[in-house]
Structures are given as C-alpha cells and as structure tokens.
C-alpha cells in the first residue's frame, strides 16, 4: 500500500493524529486542568475556601453523618432496571468510606448500599456527601465542584456514560496517541539535530511545524507515559478478563487472599456495633510513626457496617513519593484489635503503583505539579499546531477546489482548540453569576458549557471564509481573553476574594487559579494579535502590494 515504511508511518501519524486529535485535545486540556482540580473546586465553591484539614473525629463528627446518608437519586433510579423485584424503602448499608488529601479542605463521605434481588449479586449503588470537617456541616448538593466533579470526569470519560462509551473513545484516542508519537519519531529523521530548532520568523508553515516538533519532542516521555499509564489504569474496562473468562480464577484468588489477610469477604449476618474508630486511627498513626512514615489519614474504609465481620481499614495520605502507597492497617470493627498491617508491595505491584501514582499525582510537590500542568498544555500545543499545519497544507492544495471536507476540519479545529477554551471560560462566568439558590444549578452550569461549545462550532463554520481563514480563530481567541478576564473580575466582585486579597492572605489555591486565568487571557490576546497580523500580511501579499512570500517568509527559512 505504501511505497516505503516511512510513507506508511507518515500516513498513520497524519490521520490518527487528525481524527483522534480532537478527542486528545479535550483529554489533554481537561487533564491539564485536572492537575489543579481541587484548587478549581475551591474557586467554584466559595464555601469551601479554607485550609485543608486533617481527618476529624470519626466517632463524634463523621459517624452521625454516615448514618444519615441516602443513595444518590440518579443511581437509585438507574438501579431499578437492574433488580428483579421492588426495591425496599431503605437499602442495606454495605460500607463507609471517607477520603481526604493535603489539597482538600473538605471531606468526601461515601456509603455503598446493597441491592436486594439484583441480577448481579455484587451490584451496589452509592450515596455521598461533602462535609466541612471543622463543623460537620454539609455543603449544599448544588455546589458543583467544577474541578474534581466536572473537568476531571470529562478528561477520562467525556461525560459519556452510556455503556462506558466515553472510556472506550478516550482509550482509543490514547492508543492512537501512542501510535502518533511512535510514528512521529520514525518520520522525523533529524530528531536530535532539530530538537532546539524553532524559527518563529520563518514562513508560517515552517514555524508551525517547528513548534509542533518542539512541543512533541521535549515532552515526549511525558506524553508517552501519560497515555500508557492512562490505559493501564482503565485496563480492566478494556480487557475485562477477571469478570468474564477468568472469573473463577479471580474469585478463587480473592477467597485465598481473604483467608490470608483475615479480612472477610462477606458479612456474617450477626449484628454488632462498631468499636471506637478514633482509637484505631490513633493506633495506626502510631504504627506509621514507628516505621518512620508518620503521616495523616488519607482514606478510611469501614466494611460490613453493623456486622460482626466488620473491618476498619486506615490508609496513609501518600504525599512524599510518586508511588500510590497506602500503608494500610486493618482492624476488627467490633473490637478494635489489629488484624493486619499491609506489607510492602511486591515488584509487580510496586511497578504498577508507581505508574498509576505517576498519573494520578497524589504527591505533595508544587513545582512538579506545575510542570505537569505545562506538560499537558504542551500536548495541547502539539495537537493544535498539528491541526494548523494539516489545514494549511490542504488549503494550499485545494485552493482552487474549495473542498467542503477541509472546511469541516477547520471549523472543528477552531471549535476544539479555541472554542473549548471559550466554553470553559463561559462555565466559570456562569458559576459566578448563577444564583446559589437556583435549583439544578449544577445542570444549568453544565448546559452553559456544552451550549457555548456548540455555539463556537457554529460560529467557526459561519465566520470561516477562503479569503480570511484565520478570522474564526482570531475572534474566538479574543472572546476567550475577554471571558477569562470577566471570570477573574466576577470572582473578586461576587466573593470579595480579589487577587491581591488572596495572594496577600497566602491563599494560593484561589489566587493561583485567578493568576492562571490571567495567564490564559494574556496568551489568548497575544495569539489573537499575532494571527491578525498574519492575516493582514497575507491579504496584503495576495493583493499584490508586497512581493509574494515577503510577509513573514523573509529571514531564516
């Protein structure tokens, strides 16, 4: 099919990059935002703008809240199709979990409820609540945490939950990205020789390609490992061996493990109250300290609630290394006696924990976190410049024909790159403007995001023209700059946390988000200005006022 190996790889790179690039743009951009998801949460939920707290007393503060948690309404509605009989008014409680990090001021509490008469015996649903750990007050359900509850799920699942379609699309995109990286390296003959080559003053095509190569190559290990680790994290979805063909093997191993660790898989059916959990937590912290790993509790899990077989598992908040360690310590729920201290992971488990930890970033290291953010944006730049290069090349070739397919690609490119930013900024503005008491506030916010994004596609199609191909880009970049500045201003006006106030108080979470927004506004404005200049020069040269190729083509090529 292809005359040479290199041509085959070029085809692979171009078409996988182009088609999957739209999805990858979304994954990378919202992945980059997810690096600071908890900080964005605080920006979007002003009631949560306080310092992260260690886990409060389970017995005094958390237990009463757990007892009040009910299943989430949407999960309950969806579950009715999965059971063969009617659902009772109160569902049996299976387990409690509470989770916090060094970046979270608030606590997340989850309860699992069993489904009697379910077709799949292991089926269960969840209820959850967000708590202010200082007082035990619940945060209103309407308060949508835009970072961890919107941008982050958008990053890994595109909010397409039907049959896990979103996960599959993102997975295919990740695989395509690996293929694009490998093929890109193979076709870039002088990879090392041209590593530092960036010629912004050369012809647009040259400088766009230089930037594409630069952003792709300097962060190559980052791009490769993030795609690979992302796939490994969701491997159970793509290759569900343990729940299908190998289920007997899997279950046998689970039973063997339960016998070994003393942590029962099933409840005994005998009711028993929970012993004081605070004492178990204190014991766990003492044991970590004795091992030279003093730390806060990151995750607490109570299994088989109210049963004699109940267990309480305490995990350390891992912050000082990449590996997702937990140093889990397990106690018998009814008595508080120690059942097991998790031993260090074996080689395979260790490698896996390192790779997943690399992706999920629970570590405490602000410079590295910012480097991750920049790496994500570099990935976006790589994809965006790829689109620009492709579009311009095709435009030159099809100038006479005015191919409709190219127009679609160009409109999609604008909408995916600039339009996505516009939609995000519009979401932040809506977050500040919508009244707190609005019912379904979260749904309205999200609708603003999706509708704005759709509108940018419409705008891009409408405003594109063969004579001014950059016009949609320029207008959307300008809109992005304006909306982002508006979001920062609205934060100051509606919450009183103006940038100078937050920075003076050392609130780097909210102040940092505002600063980043200002940075985005600046970049968008500069890009709009540069594109406008390019368009003007191109029009002038086409009109014959300048010798062909003068504008921007002079200088080093």
């Amino acid at each position: 099919m292809f005359a040479t190996f290199r041509l085959g790889m070029t085809w692979l790179h171009t078409w996988f990059g182009l088609v999957l690039g739209f999805v990858l743009m979304v994954v990378f951009f919202f992945g980059a935002l997810s690096v600071f998801d908890r900080e964005i949460d605080r920006w979007s939920v002003p009631a949560s703008r306080f310092e992260p707290q260690p886990l409060p007393s389970f017995d005094r503060l958390l237990a009463p809240v757990f007892e009040r948690i009910v299943p989430d309404a949407p999960d309950l509605a969806a579950a009715r199709d999965r059971v063969t009989g009617p659902l009772p008014a109160t569902l049996p409680v299976m387990d409690y979990s509470v989770y916090t990090t060094h970046r979270d001021p608030v606590l997340q509490l989850y309860t699992s409820f069993g489904l009697p008469n379910a077709r799949d015996p292991g089926d269960h649903i969840h209820g959850h609540v967000t708590l202010d750990p200082r007082t035990g007050a619940e945060l209103p359900a309407q308060a949508r945490k835009l970072g961890s509850e919107f941008f982050y799920p958008l990053h890994y699942g595109l909010h397409l939950e039907w049959k896990e379609l979103g996960y599959w699309i993102v997975g295919l995109a990740a695989l395509g990205m690996l293929a694009a990286l490998v093929s890109g390296v193979m076709i870039h003959r002088r990879l090392f020789r041209e590593l530092f080559t960036f010629r912004p003053r050369a012809s647009t095509q040259r400088s766009v390609l230089d930037l594409h190569n630069l952003t792709g190559v300097v962060a190559l290990p980052f791009h490769f490992f993030f795609a690979l680790t992302g796939l490994v994290i969701f491997a159970g979805i793509y290759f569900p061996a343990g729940t299908t063909v190998l289920r007997p093997l899997h279950d046998a191993d689970e039973r063997r493990e339960a016998a070994l660790t003393g942590l029962p898989l099933e409840p005994s059916g005998i009711a028993a109250p929970l012993a004081p959990v605070d004492a178990m937590v204190a014991d766990a912290q003492r044991r970590w300290q004795a091992r030279g790993m003093a730390g806060e509790v990151g995750f607490l899990f109570v299994n088989h609630v109210g049963d004699a077989a109940a267990t309480v598992s305490v995990y350390r908040a891992g912050t000082d290394r990449v590996t997702l360690t937990g140093e889990g310590i397990h106690y018998r729920g009814s008595t508080g006696e120690l059942l097991r201290e998790d031993p260090p992971q074996g080689v395979v488990g260790g490698i896996n924990d390192f790779l997943t930890g690399l992706h999920l970033q629970h570590f405490r290291h602000w410079p590295l976190r910012w480097l991750y953010f920049l790496g994500g944006l570099a990935g976006c730049a790589c994809i965006a410049t790829g689109f620009l290069f492709f579009a311009r090349k095709r435009r030159e070739r099809h100038a006479a024909q005015g191919a409709g397919g190219l127009r679609l690609v160009e409109a999609l490119s604008v909408a995916t790159v600039a339009g996505m930013g516009v939609a995000t900024a519009a979401l932040l503005v809506a977050n500040r403007l919508l009244p707190q008491t609005l019912a379904d506030r979260a749904t309205v916010e999200e609708s603003v995001f999706w509708l704005t994004w759709l509108a940018t596609l419409g705008h891009a199609s409408w405003r594109a023209s063969p004579r001014q191909p950059l016009r949609p880009w320029i207008e959307q970049c300008a809109a992005l700059a304006v909306l982002t500045l508006l979001a920062v201003a609205l934060n100051a006006v509606t919450t009183g946390d103006a940038l100078w106030r937050t920075l003076a108080a050392g609130d780097w979470a909210v102040g940092g988000v505002d600063l980043a927004l200002l940075g985005f506004a600046l970049v968008a404005a500069l890009v709009a200005r540069r594109l406008r200049r390019l368009e003007r020069d191109r029009r002038a040269s086409v009109a014959g006022a300048l010798p062909k190729g003068f504008a921007g083509d002079a200088g080093r090529a």
Partner: protein, 110 residues
Amino acid sequence: MPDALLLTLALGASCAGQACLALSLESHWRQAGAPGRRPPAVRMRATGAGLLVVALMLCLAVNHPSIAALVWIMMNAVAATSVAATLAWRPAWLRAPGRLLADRRRAEGV
C-alpha cells in the same frame, strides 16, 4: 539549603546543560555567533551531559528518588524549550558560553 533554592539551581544547571547540547550542533553554534565555524562538539556534549547530571543530583537532594526523577525529566523539557526560545529570539545570549568553551586554536585559525 532550602528546597526552593536547590531546585532553582537544578533548573539553572539543566538550562546550561541543554544550551551546551544545543551549541554542540553546528547550526546553533553559528546562530549564536560563537567563534569559529565548527563547534567543539565532543567537549560541548560532555559538558552538557555533565551539567544535566548535576541537575539530577540537585533534584535527588531535595526529594525521594521517584519524585526527583520526574522533576528532573520535566525540568529538562522546560529547559530545552527555553533554550529553543533563546535561540529563536535572543541567540546572542548564548555567544558567551560558546566563546567560553570554544576551541581557541581553531577559533583563531579560522
């Protein structure tokens, strides 16, 4: 020494190392206006590699090895981008390092 200072020094070493690697290539050597037509490639690459190792050591002094390795890798990406940007917009800034490491005999001879 405070962590912030060590990491800043590491970034500096990384930038300097990447600059040396860049200057070891003839096109960039000339772009910077360093003396002589050809760069002392072996010496530049050795110096560059050495500086990158220094950056890694500084990172390891601050954090657990697993984190330090990631910080170093990502830092190198930033450094390489900075060097590319410098070569694109202010190549003359790299003339002095080039001159420092140039082969004097060759520079005078050309």
